[in-house]
């Protein structure tokens, strides 16, 4: 698996929730390193579940999952945590920023579990905020920032540790179309230096900006196109 340069691979993955609800029904997909992929589909199609399985936050009910060369089904909680700490950056629709903490500390806290020292983390955080264009807002709290700026902080938090995989779940869902567009452009730019980007969206225009689009419906992949 690792020799082929595949960043993430799902093989016949099913996810069943208590009560017999299937979120995923036998999904197989390979995402090569450096790919930029949009996952589109209506709500309830299983795209968020796929993202959480790719992000090793959940294990599948059946099937095989490999992420960054790690067998997710076999790995221990500690190994998966290590994978998330070093290799995977998440961007959420609702930002998940700590309101009482400055932008730079929010970003630095994103590297908390890498074991890096506070000064190292803050240095990386300043650089990351600089990259997302918020170098002048280091000490602002999330409440003092606009929605687009908050999402930039969240993106900086995902990127500060230089992950090989970026997973974004509807990152523009809470933003107006202008800031949303800017965020997508930023993500493309940041991922272009080698990171694998998987982004969930239900916006066809956003999906259109991606080189590869995976369509989902009822827990299955119904389309996988490259444009």
């Amino acid at each position: 698996m690792t020799e082929t340069g595949v960043a993430m691979a799902l093989d016949e993955v099913a996810k069943e929730y208590p009560g017999g609800v299937f979120a995923l029904r036998g999904v197989s997909v390979e995402i090569p390193g450096g790919d930029q992929v949009a996952v589109v589909g209506p709500s309830g199609s299983g795209k968020t579940t796929m993202l959480t399985i790719l992000g090793t936050l959940e294990r599948p009910s059946s099937g095989q999952v490999h992420v960054a060369g790690c067998d997710v089904v076999q790995a221990s909680d500690g190994e998966l945590a290590g994978l998330r700490a070093h290799e995977i950056g998440f961007v959420f629709q609702s930002f998940h920023l700590q309101e009482s903490t400055s932008a730079v500390d929010n970003v630095a806290n994103g590297m908390l579990y890498t074991g890096a020292r506070g000064s190292v983390r803050r240095e990386a955080a300043r650089a990351a905020l600089d990259r997302v264009g918020l170098g002048h807002r280091l000490d602002h709290r999330p409440t003092q920032l606009s929605g687009g700026e908050r999402q930039r902080v969240a993106i900086a938090r995902a990127l500060a540790k230089r992950p090989t995989i970026i997973l974004a779940d509807e990152p523009t869902g809470n933003l107006d179309s202008k800031s949303g567009g800017d965020i997508i452009t930023l993500l493309h730019e940041l991922a272009s230096d080698g990171a694998t980007l998987v982004l969930i969206t239900h916006d066809a225009a956003i999906a259109g900006s991606f080189g590869r689009q995976i369509r989902m419906r009822d827990g299955e992949i119904v389309g996988d196109e490259r444009s």
Binding site: D35, L57, G78, R84, A85
Partner: protein
């Protein structure tokens, strides 16, 4: 699929790590963002620890006071009294025991008293002779106050004049029973069948309070007027401080070489020291109350942490997404809980010390908070907080990250 643009694939993943310093920082931040709640939940622990520290501090302070009194009175006083025979009758100390003991090496001073069983002291002859108020009459040597470590509250003790004229000195308790507060102006008591002039009133003799309810006259007068036998009923001995034990061992054979087993020797400061030790024993009831407050405080912290886990589900989910292991999450909540309680304990230590200070100033006693309390209080806080945090921490660690993120 192309692998040309693929980043270097790692064969070994670095571990997720949370160094202790970073853990502490995360826990402190968790507390800082909820200051009021943290303060209120730490209050229970503060009250519990405060109560316990105050109990320990107050009892230590009054113990220190008593020990200081013992120190000033001296621990080198020994008493020699006649014991009891095998059949229960009282032994008699030989008259020669007084000069014998006075001649011993390492004896600094000594004074004897002679009980007069046939004499009663009354305010006036009109008081029935049975109403003695428990006051005994003793003949005493002139240096008695000095030897037993007390002084006069009024007037002077028996002197050379007292050997020839009927003069009496009252113990503190005897004076108050006879309602005599001051000497001078020909204060008299009716002793036996004649009037005695009261020349002095003694202060309480802490080392032997039985002297307080006694009226003293001189031995020559006692022998002349009451036919007193020259056998001492008690001999007080001040020994050289470093030789108290050898002197104590030699007193009985010196007092009565023929019947040393009929002589009792004791050290009055022992009883006071035992009393001081008893004061040092904490008031169990109050300590129990403190423990109850601690328990309530611990439950309060556990309660607040459980609520906190529910409220902070999205934070927990985020931390898991950022690479926290389950153990990192539980460690953070445990640390918050332990810090909270330790904080409360330190505040409680301050409260308890303050209460002790107020008490000691009001009672004019030395301020003492035992050193171990400075270590025990925060340690107890840490322990209680850790125990209280166990359940919420486990609950937080078991939370599914995706469910937590969905909030």
């Amino acid at each position: 699929m192309s692998s040309a643009a693929a980043p270097p694939i790692r064969t070994r993943i670095d571990r997720a790590r949370l160094p202790p310093r970073e853990l502490l920082g995360a826990a402190l931040q968790g507390l800082r963002t909820r200051k009021l709640r943290a303060a209120l939940s730490a209050l229970g622990i503060a009250i519990g620890i405060g109560a316990m520290v105050a109990v320990v501090g107050v009892s230590s302070s009054s113990q220190a006071q008593l020990l200081a009194e013992i120190d000033s009175l001296g621990t080198n006083l020994l008493t020699v009294t006649p014991g009891q025979t095998f059949t229960g009758n009282n032994e008699v100390l030989p008259a020669a025991s007084v000069p014998m003991i006075g001649g011993m090496g390492n004896v600094l001073r000594d004074a004897a008293i002679y009980q007069l069983s046939n004499a009663v002291v009354l305010r006036t002859p009109f008081v029935p002779a049975q109403q003695t108020g428990g006051i005994g009459v003793d003949a005493a040597g002139q240096n008695l106050p000095e030897v037993v470590g007390t002084s006069m509250s009024s007037g002077h003790f028996l002197g050379p004049v007292s050997d020839r004229y009927p003069e009496a000195v009252l113990g503190a308790q005897a004076a108050s029973v006879l309602q005599i507060t001051q000497v001078g102006g020909h204060v008299m008591v009716y002793l036996g069948s004649r009037w005695f002039t009261v020349v002095g009133i003694m202060k309480s003799a802490l080392l032997d309070t039985s002297l307080d309810s006694t009226v003293f006259i001189s031995l020559p007068v006692a022998e002349r007027m009451f036919g007193a036998a020259p056998n001492p009923s008690e001999i007080y001995v001040r020994a050289n401080q470093n030789d108290v034990t050898p002197v104590s061992n030699l007193l009985a054979p010196t007092a009565d070489p023929q019947n040393s087993s009929g002589v009792d020797v004791s050290r009055p400061s022992d009883a006071l020291e035992a009393r001081a030790a008893a004061k040092g024993q904490f008031t169990t009831l109050l300590l129990g109350l403190g423990a109850v407050a601690l328990l309530v405080g611990a439950i309060g912290i556990a309660n607040i942490m459980v609520i906190s886990v529910l409220e902070r589900r999205s934070e927990i989910g985020l931390r898991r997404a950022l690479g926290a292991k389950r153990s990192h999450i539980s460690a953070q909540f445990l640390a918050e809980s332990a810090l909270l309680a330790a904080l409360g304990a330190v505040v409680g230590l301050g409260l308890g010390a303050g209460a002790t200070e107020v008490y000691s100033v009001a009672r004019n006693e030395p301020f003492v908070v035992p050193l171990y309390a400075l270590i025990a209080a925060p340690s107890a806080g840490l322990l209680i907080g850790t125990l209280a945090g166990l359940y919420p921490a486990g609950k937080a660690a078991r939370l599914s990250p995706t469910e937590a993120l969905r909030v």
